[in-house]
């Protein structure tokens, strides 16, 4: 097992906050930087990573056959056509949930780490067995959350569990940030969330309709080098993962009209 492979769990606790979208976009963005990257769908019950990457029709074997040793790892890996540095190891049949154990996930991760520099694990929602299996294979983690009370609360629970599993570092991605709502103080700010969760912020992702368009097509935003707000955010995160220092987008500086300026004035902290 290569020791310098970064095996990163992408998790959130709550469902629907953007784990799979982040996994797909970071996978593509890292691969575009020339890094050999594998994305592993650990959500055996409700798999979707194949769909977001547009690879759903090219799956022959899955993690299940690899574990049963009825195929080799290379046979199960689905290479992305446009971005050959990226490969997906698809989740098997939901019946896998009945027998898969932390050992199995560790075996898969160790196999992947022989061929890849990055292994991104798309974690299932929840904190039950699916999470425990996935976390056992990871060395570090990215916690995804939204600026909403339920998502932040669930993220806090997950951070506690990651700490007890000895995962380090654990970094935060704040997804679906709406600068205008933050400015009018009707949404938790970036500082609010990082203060409450006390995690280092790896990046934030601005709310962007293009994310839906890209999932419709099965082409992650980072694939085409588009300049949409979320695409910029995802690429920045991938570059920060490689140690580049890229300043955070300041949501309060988005927008330059007189109304935006007034909103910013009203945000001034008095005490």
């Amino acid at each position: 097992m290569k020791t310098n492979t970064r095996i990163i769990l992408i998790c959130s606790g709550k469902g629907g906050v953007g784990k799979t979208t982040l996994t797909a976009n970071l996978g593509i963005a890292l691969a575009r930087q020339g890094l050999k990257t594998a994305v592993l769908d650990a959500d055996f019950g409700l798999r979707n990573l194949d769909l977001l990457l547009g690879l759903e029709n090219r799956i022959v074997y899955t993690a299940q056959e690899v574990l049963e040793e009825s195929c080799r790892l290379d046979q199960a890996l689905v290479k992305h056509k446009k971005e050959p540095n990226l490969a997906l190891l698809p989740a098997g049949n939901p019946r896998m949930l009945e027998w898969i154990k932390p050992d199995d996930m560790q075996r898969i991760a160790s196999m992947l780490s022989e061929q890849f520099e990055y292994v991104l694990i798309d974690c299932p929602a929840g904190v039950e067995d699916g999470f425990k299996n996935a976390v056992s294979a990871a060395k570090e983690a990215i916690v995804v959350t939204n600026p909403e009370v339920s998502a932040v609360r669930d993220a806090d629970r997950v951070i506690g569990l990651l700490n007890t599993h000895g995962i380090s570092p654990v970094q935060l991605v704040l997804n679906r940030v709406r600068p205008k709502m933050i400015a009018s103080q009707e949404m938790l700010s970036v500082d609010d969330v990082t203060d409450i969760l006390s995690l280092p912020l790896l990046g934030l992702v601005l709310e962007d309709e293009q994310v839906i368009v890209s999932t419709n097509r099965g082409e992650p935003l980072t694939l085409n080098g588009t300049n949409s707000p979320a695409a910029r955010c995802y690429s920045n995160i991938a570059r920060r993962m490689q140690g580049e220092e890229i300043p955070l987008i300041d949501p309060s500086k988005e927008g330059s009209g007189i109304r935006d300026k007034f909103r910013r004035l009203m945000q001034t902290k008095i005490f």
């Binding site: 009370v149 806090d156 951070i159 009018s184 103080q185 949404m187 609010d192 006390s198 009203m266």
Partner: protein, 98 residues
Amino acid sequence: MTLRDILNKLLRRQPTSASTARERLQLVLAHDRSDLSPELLDKMRKEILEVVAKYVEIDLEEGAVSLETEDRMTALVANLPIKRTVTGAIKLKENDDE
């Protein structure tokens, strides 16, 4: 507190929902992290007050025991204003002017 919060207070408007969210989260997370239910905390609060009341006379209405969280560390904070000691031997600040 921001400029907008102050303005809202002056105009007697509802506080912004972000500040409400912040407060609610801080409270619920302190409970989540300590695994203490509000009922259990209340039971503990009563027992702490009983013990303290053996030694000093405290204002049972004002006494507050709460969980506070900072940097993922949770602390039990008790704020118990003392009226006077049971023996009356110790002069307390409040009683100075009596």
